[in-house]
């Protein structure tokens, strides 16, 4: 090909020119953005979406953060250690047998559309959650039937439980109250408004929906005349929960001030951003325990000596290293913030001599077995623990097969005694500070649930658990729970791991952050926040 080529530079020039044009058009568009008017809008950069807002249908940390912002419950958890504060209910009485609970409602509470929050709304909300039988329904469904909720008068509601249940109150903060008129106006078929409530709210809380763009962002607008008032001098104009799914993007957004709070960074990243100017990291001990559940119903883990050998070979210090020191090792099956927690004596720690001694007593004195370690696909820390296990159990000649499963598949595996894996990595946050919320995970009725994949079986412990939940006197309950903690530790149904600190990185002008360990990892109470620039 011998074409003269003198004109070709023209083409190249055109290309370059076009490139430059595009460049000048867009470069410099990455600017800090505005706040709304006089007041500020807080931007929360989170990874987890809120696909289903309905408080009767779902809860997880991001969902509940939004629910807590838009709805009120009879009572509310606040502070560390958590206390139950009166909210829609100003006061309450309980019968001596812990079966009848009467709540007196605040008289000035109103829903976002102006309707009053009355006893009928409370009754309706409990009935709706129980009937839909999803989300938080399990917490009370064994004790409370829809007929058990009685409207006494406009501002008094009474719960008549089918059995005594001392921890009743401690579950109520997650039972949000919705406006029956709004919900039923959007009923489709007999769905009790489930479809509509997915992306809409009918609450009385401090915020209401402004924009709800699934998969992108959720914007809340503060209710200026919130019935309970605002604790801060200059409340927020609103909150944007922006989905930022990548750590690098979260960090960059925080640095540029495009996001004011971010969650879910890696331990390393938290340490890095904490050193940056203008950024602070809130760091608190949470209530979420990490444990590796054995399936004690099937060989080889039905062998207590093998379980103890594994538990003593495990390097607990690795937890601290993985979290760069921002974690606390468990000293009991119960989290520290749980009422009645004790430090169980001789709690297992790494001791290879003991591990080998236990192994020698087991049916597998020379190891030579491979154990399956199942964890949630994509959960970084659980994956690291698996690598630690492989490393730690090599000296015992025990192999580990790491099997990541999606959460549904993992739950499906764990739901049957025969298929529940040898070891299952579980982060569990108790939904209440009452010890029953943790102790009951070791009861037979928890078998097959994700926290009951150990199929732990000890009639004596079960008896104690049942006895303790029926008593309304704490003095009576406390020693029983101490006994339960010791006995469970002794049976070693799992490797009792650690409680990782909850961390959020935020701009230093974010004020009024209130931590409460009973909230989920990542969940923030938006009500008290302000921007103090």
């Amino acid at each position: 090909m011998t074409i003269r080529i003198c004109h070709f530079p023209r083409l190249v020039t055109a290309l370059v020119f076009a490139g430059l044009l595009v460049g000048t058009l867009v470069v410099g568009s990455a600017q800090a953005f505005e706040r709304a008017g006089e007041k500020f809008i807080l931007v929360f950069g989170g990874r987890q979406p809120v696909p289903l807002l309905d408080p009767s249908q779902k809860y997880d940390w991001s969902t509940r953060m939004m629910q807590q912002a838009m709805y009120d419950a009879l009572v509310k958890y606040e502070n560390d250690p958590p206390v139950i504060k009166p909210w829609l209910a100003e006061s309450w009485d309980v019968s001596d047998d812990a079966k009848v609970w009467t709540f007196h409602l605040a008289k000035n509470a109103k829903f976002h559309n102006g309707d009053p929050v009355n006893a009928e709304a409370v009754r309706f909300s409990f009935e709706r959650t129980l009937k839909i039988n999803k989300g938080p329904a399990w917490m009370l469904s064994d004790f409370l039937k829809p007929e058990g909720v009685k409207v006494v008068d406009e501002h008094t509601v009474r719960f008549e439980l089918s059995e005594p249940f001392a921890p009743f109150l401690s579950f109520l903060p997650w039972w949000y109250v919705m406006n029956p008129a709004q919900v039923m106006a959007h009923q489709e078929g007999d769905d009790m408004g489930q479809k509509w409530m997915t992306d809409n709210e009918a609450g009385s809380g401090p915020f209401k929906i402004k924009r709800w763009e699934q998969g992108v962002l959720y914007e809340l607008e503060a209710v200026p005349d919130y019935w309970k008032g605002w604790p801060q001098k200059k409340p927020l104009a609103g909150v944007i929960y922006k989905l930022i799914r990548e750590a690098a993007s979260q960090k960059a957004a925080l640095q540029k001030g495009e996001a004011d709070i971010v969650e879910g960074l890696s331990p390393e990243d938290f340490d890095i951003v904490a050193k940056l100017p203008g950024i602070k990291v809130e760091n608190h001990a949470g209530m979420t325990t990490f444990g590796i559940k054995f399936n004690v119903s099937q060989p080889p883990m039905d062998d207590i000596n093998l379980r103890k050998a594994v538990a003593h070979a495990f390097d607990y210090e690795a937890f601290l290293k993985i979290y760069n020191g921002n974690a606390k090792l468990q000293t009991s099956p119960f989290p520290f913030a749980t009422q009645g927690h004790i430090d169980v004596p001789n709690f297992p720690r790494r001791d290879m001599a003991k591990a080998k001694a236990y192994l020698a007593k087991s049916k597998y004195p020379n190891g030579g077995i491979e154990l399956e370690y199942v964890y949630v696909q994509g959960l970084e820390e659980e994956r690291k623990m698996g690598l630690v296990l492989i490393d730690n159990l090599k000296p015992l000649n025990i192999g580990i097969k790491m099997v990541p499963l999606t959460w549904p598949n993992m739950k499906a595996r764990g739901s049957k005694m025969e298929t529940s894996p040898n070891m299952l990595a579980i982060f569990a946050t108790p939904v209440a500070t009452d010890p029953d919320a943790v102790a009951f995970q070791y009861h037979k009725d928890s078998w097959g649930k994700y926290y009951g994949t150990h199929y732990y079986s000890n009639e004596e412990v079960w008896g104690l658990i049942e006895k303790a939940r029926k008593s309304s006197s704490w003095d009576e309950r406390a020693p029983i729970y101490a006994e339960i903690q010791k006995k469970i530790t002794d049976d070693q149904p799992e490797i009792f791991g650690m409680l990782a600190n909850r961390r959020w990185a935020m701009r230093d002008y974010v004020k009024g952050f209130k931590f409460s360990p009973v909230r989920f990892t990542g969940e923030v109470d938006l009500y008290s926040l302000e921007i103090g620039k």
Binding site: I3, F8, M139, G215, R245, P408, N409
Partner: protein
């Protein structure tokens, strides 16, 4: 011609049913328990049963397929078991963003691919040809997601020129929808600042997505151009003293456009597939990200829906090209 079109439409329908059958077969050998997930972490057995009934998971398989097939043709792709949203609603919400991303990526690929292909042909076996060949082979070999990360790292984080991710800034109100395409709508509404912002957001993901198509377009153009340059009319034109720039830019380019168009149709589908990698990196709220998020959570209905949508778009694109070709070239009608 009418017969040809009818035949093609029938084939299209048949292929769609085939695709639905494949997807259905795949999704129903699943070991997971979708009802269990939907019920939430602490659900009791009866709560799970409630949900199983609600989603029709308790019926026999052929029945479920029949129902699903009927639903699909009525535009009902089922519900996400994780979020309870209608999959069709979700897909309609996310598809415009994906379409826009793919569109811009395609424009980038054409904009750079055609001239580069021409240059390579003209400088055949010279330095420029080798350089362009290297670029084109490289853009196939670069993992799209990694290219995306590199672009983020350098262009966004180091240089700070372009945003890291997302489709638009946080505080920017979206324009009133007309076409639901952000770039188009903001122009139609005269909101140029919004347009500029949206454009800044789309560049990096579009570049990452365009890489393989760029390679293909370069190659096709180079090959066609080499062939065209040897044809009689070009030789004649040159003999008449028409400048080589004009020859290439006008006559030869025109002749090379048809195979390029065919390539674009083919690449359109591939690019839709590429969105499952690129959208995740750039937080692009489109169908690809939706499919991945659902896949990772074993939420099958959305994965099936997204796959069907992508497959169907791909079929439609090829269908359109078939028709166009049949129209251009009567011989194909006989064969088809």
């Amino acid at each position: 011609m009418a017969l040809f079109v009818i035949k093609r439409v029938a084939l299209l329908g048949l292929m769609l049913i085939g695709l639905i059958l494949i997807m259905f077969t795949i999704s129903h050998v699943a070991p997971g328990d979708p009802a269990g997930v939907a019920a939430g972490p602490d659900a009791t057995a009866e709560m799970i049963e409630v949900i199983r009934k609600e989603y029709g998971l308790d019926k026999p398989l052929p029945m479920q397929f029949w129902i699903y097939l009927g639903d699909v043709f009525q535009g009902d792709l089922g519900r996400s078991i994780r979020t309870t949203h209608d999959v069709t609603d979700d897909l309609l919400r996310y598809f415009p963003a994906t379409f826009e991303l793919v569109g811009v990526a395609m424009l980038i690929a054409i904009f750079f691919g055609v001239p580069l292909g021409m240059l390579a042909a003209v400088f055949r076996d010279k330095g420029a040809d080798h350089a362009i060949r290297f670029v084109s082979v490289s853009s196939v070999a670069l993992p799209m997601f990694w290219l995306g990360l590199l672009l983020q790292l350098f262009v966004s984080l180091k240089l700070g020129w372009l945003p890291l991710g997302g489709q638009i800034g946080l505080m920017t109100e979206r324009p009133e929808p007309i076409t639901h395409l952000l770039l188009v709508d903001s122009l139609l509404r005269g909101q140029f600042e919004t347009f500029r912002e949206a454009f800044a957001h789309v560049i990096l993901p579009a570049i990452a997505l365009s890489a393989p198509a760029l390679a293909a377009i370069i190659r096709v153009n180079r090959a066609e151009m080499i062939e065209v340059l040897h044809q009689d009319f070009i030789v004649t034109a040159r003999a008449h003293g028409i400048s080589s720039f004009r020859i290439v830019a006008i006559y030869a380019l025109r002749n090379a456009m048809i195979p390029t168009l065919a390539m674009i149709g083919l690449r359109f589908g591939w690019m839709l597939g590429g969105t499952v990698l690129v959208e995740g990196v750039f937080d692009w709220p489109g169908v690809g990200l939706y499919a991945v998020q659902s896949a990772v959570n074993s939420d099958f209905q959305p994965v099936m829906g997204a796959t069907l949508l992508i497959g169907f778009s791909f079929m439609l694109a090829n269908f359109a090209i078939d028709i166009a070709y049949g129209w251009l070239d009567p011989r194909l009608r006989e064969a088809g």
